[in-house]
């Protein structure tokens, strides 16, 4: 019998400024996390183990937004240390909730929250893609456990994962939810990538688009519909929840440009 030594792919999980909810979601995979840990070698994961090997790695998952200079430098360094760099959760993939605060507004809030003498560390809450090339974005606030498993399975099989080709609407219909747009409630589901199972709408909350804007989404058509029953400030507020640091937000709502409202 020929014995063969198979090298398991080296996986590292890092986190920048964030809530750690996506890492907690990974821990909640329980038995499936153990399977994943068996198929790979988790060589660095601050939250869960003391082992913290230096690179190179095969797959690096990064949660959180690089808001401090130290985090930005670490991100650039890690890019050179890994074959695949994967964004984990909306803070990493979109700028997410921390992205609600603009760079310019930070000065005011630092003074108000920390006082005049405080020397802030944070610069701006931006997605990983603002600094480096990222191979795949696992969106979500938090990430959907099934999506994490799908992406990891594809990476381990040597494939580069692709996004879902459909919007949240598809899964929302499957879940049997009444359409929010028909009830004259703002919804970003039609332009948002699927994969979440429409979990927020199923629970009774709005969809703020944490899975990111789907490729080829008809944003302008959605806006036309939304402006029929809601004012532009409310629509902008919905877009600002997770998408404020996206190019689409800048195009639609940037103050220097004309408001998109027809």
């Amino acid at each position: 019998m020929v014995s063969r030594v198979e090298l398991k792919p080296k996986v590292a999980i890092f986190d920048f400024t964030d809530c750690e909810g996506c890492e907690v979601a990974i821990v909640s995979l329980r038995e499936k996390l153990l399977e994943l840990a068996g198929e790979t070698e988790i060589v660095n994961w601050r939250l869960a183990q003391k082992r913290a090997d230096d690179g190179p790695y095969d797959i690096v998952l990064i949660e959180g937004t690089p808001v401090t200079q130290h985090e930005i430098d670490t991100l650039k360094f890690l890019r050179g240390q890994t074959k695949f760099l994967i964004g984990l959760g909306s803070c990493a993939t979109l700028g997410g909730i921390p992205g609600i605060i603009d760079r310019e507004a930070r000065t005011f809030w630092y003074k108000k929250i920390y006082g005049e003498k405080y020397k802030p560390r944070g610069i701006d809450a931006l997605p990983l893609t603002a600094y480096v090339k990222v191979d795949y974005l696992i969106h979500g606030c938090p990430v959907e456990k099934k999506e994490v498993l799908r992406v990891m399975a594809e990476l381990l099989a040597g494939k580069v994962p692709q996004g879902r080709g459909y919007s949240v609407c598809f899964e929302c219909k499957q879940a049997g939810n009444p359409c929010r747009l028909l009830e004259k409630k703002i919804c970003l589901g039609p332009i948002t990538q699927g994969g979440c199972g429409a979990i927020c709408i199923s629970g009774g909350s709005p969809c703020y688009g944490c899975f990111g804007i789907k490729e080829g989404a008809q944003i302008d058509n959605l806006l036309t519909t939304l402006y029929k029953f809601s004012d532009s400030q409310d629509v902008e507020r919905y877009f600002s929840m997770f998408l404020k640091k996206t190019p689409e937000y800048a195009r639609l709502f940037s103050k220097s440009k004309k408001n998109a409202k027809p």
Binding site: T17, V24, S28, K117, A125, S202
Partner: protein, 418 residues
């Protein structure tokens, strides 16, 4: 970096920086600031409890419910009896999730001399399986009642968007009953460990209602030094200080450190425990001067919250969920500009929200004090006590003791820098 310093990495982006020459410990926090208290200003109140759970993925339910209570307080909304019960059940799940994650995945490896929580499966499969079972069922309760455990979707000011069906509650009860045994073994396991003997004598603070062992429906802040203030007056009790070496503020009471969380709760309301939880508490004879006993306190609390979850599910199944629970207000707007305060006992201790809302329903001011902000001050003082009381011991031993001390406090750095 100077080599006479030792830095114990702690959960989140923080470190205990020890200067051996001066025998002095400083707690540095360098997590980036997200500025949540600024983020919510100008936004409608109903987005408060959507946004602020994202302060912390380990205790999002506690943030969600404290924020909801603040909004209800500002808008004079009163949740139904069933809504309160469902929220208490959600808090039980939150407590079990958080305690189990910390006890088994972070603290236990220290005591067993292992590298990670995942290794426990090889060395102690029974412990590992009971941890998984507690995690599975507490996640199930949080997902079922909250719509999603990590960042709830079904909760709302005034009640709930959606509530579980009687059949779902019955299924949930069946599962929840199963984990009483695992919770009991958890108490035995953590009673059998050898905790370092350090007399740090921290001042303990817990919110209480003085009727039941309570974490949701609390009224007063009390301490083991005879303090009693209304929870709504939390700003009188806790003074936040800015440190040049930390992006987290440090909370002090009259210039002294504050210890909050399981050990403090058991000290200040342990005599309200019932049933087996009460027996375990009596048998454990906790040393309230020793912060390392916080891990044992978390184990006893885990049993209490499993027991309470079972009782609440029985009550909900028996009486049904009242219809008012899902009758939410059409608009969240006060008749005049209002102030609202919401407080709960989160897994790591007192969590306080204060907001101001204008007549359009928009938030104009927000202040949040998290448990770890309070614990940071006491943690630094206890680290100093460890240094002072272990002078004769080897440096490696002292380093290990400091790392375990930080673990015992179970700091949540992401909460502390919000």
């Amino acid at each position: 970096m100077q080599n006479h310093n030792f830095i114990a990495q702690i959960e989140g982006h923080g470190a205990l920086d020890v200067n051996w020459d001066k025998n002095k410990a400083v707690l540095e926090v360098h997590e980036g600031e997200r500025l949540f208290e600024g983020m919510v200003v100008g936004r409608p109140v109903e987005e408060l409890y959507w946004i602020t759970p994202r302060i912390c993925g380990v205790c999002p339910v506690a943030h969600n419910l404290a924020a909801i209570k603040a909004v209800e307080n500002a808008l004079s909304l009163k949740p139904s009896l069933s809504a309160v019960l469902l929220r208490k059940l959600l808090m039980d799940a939150q407590m079990i999730q958080s305690h189990v994650l910390h006890l088994y995945f972070l603290a236990l490896p220290d005591y067993l001399g292992l590298d990670s929580g995942l290794e426990v499966i090889k060395t102690h499969p029974i412990y590992f399986n009971q941890a998984l079972e507690l995690k599975r069922v507490s996640d199930l309760i949080a997902d079922t009642i909250g719509g999603r455990g990590i960042h709830p979707t079904s909760t709302a000011a005034g009640g709930f968007h959606k509530v579980p069906s009687p059949e779902t509650l019955k299924k949930l009860k069946k599962e929840t009953k199963k984990i009483l045994e695992a919770a009991e073994s958890t108490v035995h396991l953590f009673s059998s460990l050898n905790y370092p003997e350090i007399k740090a004598n921290p001042t303990l603070f817990s919110q209480v209602n003085r009727k039941t062992y309570e974490v949701y429906d609390i009224k007063y802040i009390t301490s083991n030094k005879k303090l009693k203030e209304k929870s709504a007056d939390f700003e009188k009790v806790i003074k936040e200080e800015i440190k040049p070496y930390s992006t987290a503020k440090f909370g002090y009471h009259k210039g002294k450190g504050m210890m909050v969380g399981s050990l403090a709760r058991l000290n200040l309301q342990g005599n309200f425990l019932k049933g087996k939880a009460r027996e375990f508490f009596k048998e454990a004879s906790l040393n309230f001067q020793n912060p390392y006993h916080n891990n044992l306190a978390q184990a006893i609390e885990t049993y209490h919250f499993v027991q309470e979850a079972n009782e609440i599910l029985d009550e909900l199944i028996e009486n049904g969920v009242d219809r008012e629970t899902i009758q939410l207000p059409k608009e969240y707007k006060p008749t005049k500009a209002s102030r609202g305060i919401g407080a709960v006992e989160a897994p790591r201790g007192g969590l306080y929200y204060e907001i101001e809302v204008d007549t359009k329903g928009l938030i104009t001011e927000c202040n949040i004090i998290t448990p770890t902000v309070q614990n940071l001050s006491s943690m630094e003082e206890s680290a100093q006590a460890v240094l002072d009381q272990t002078d004769s011991q080897a440096r490696e031993k002292r380093m290990e003791l400091l790392e375990m001390l930080v673990r015992a406090y179970d700091p949540c750095i992401t909460c502390s820098v919000h």
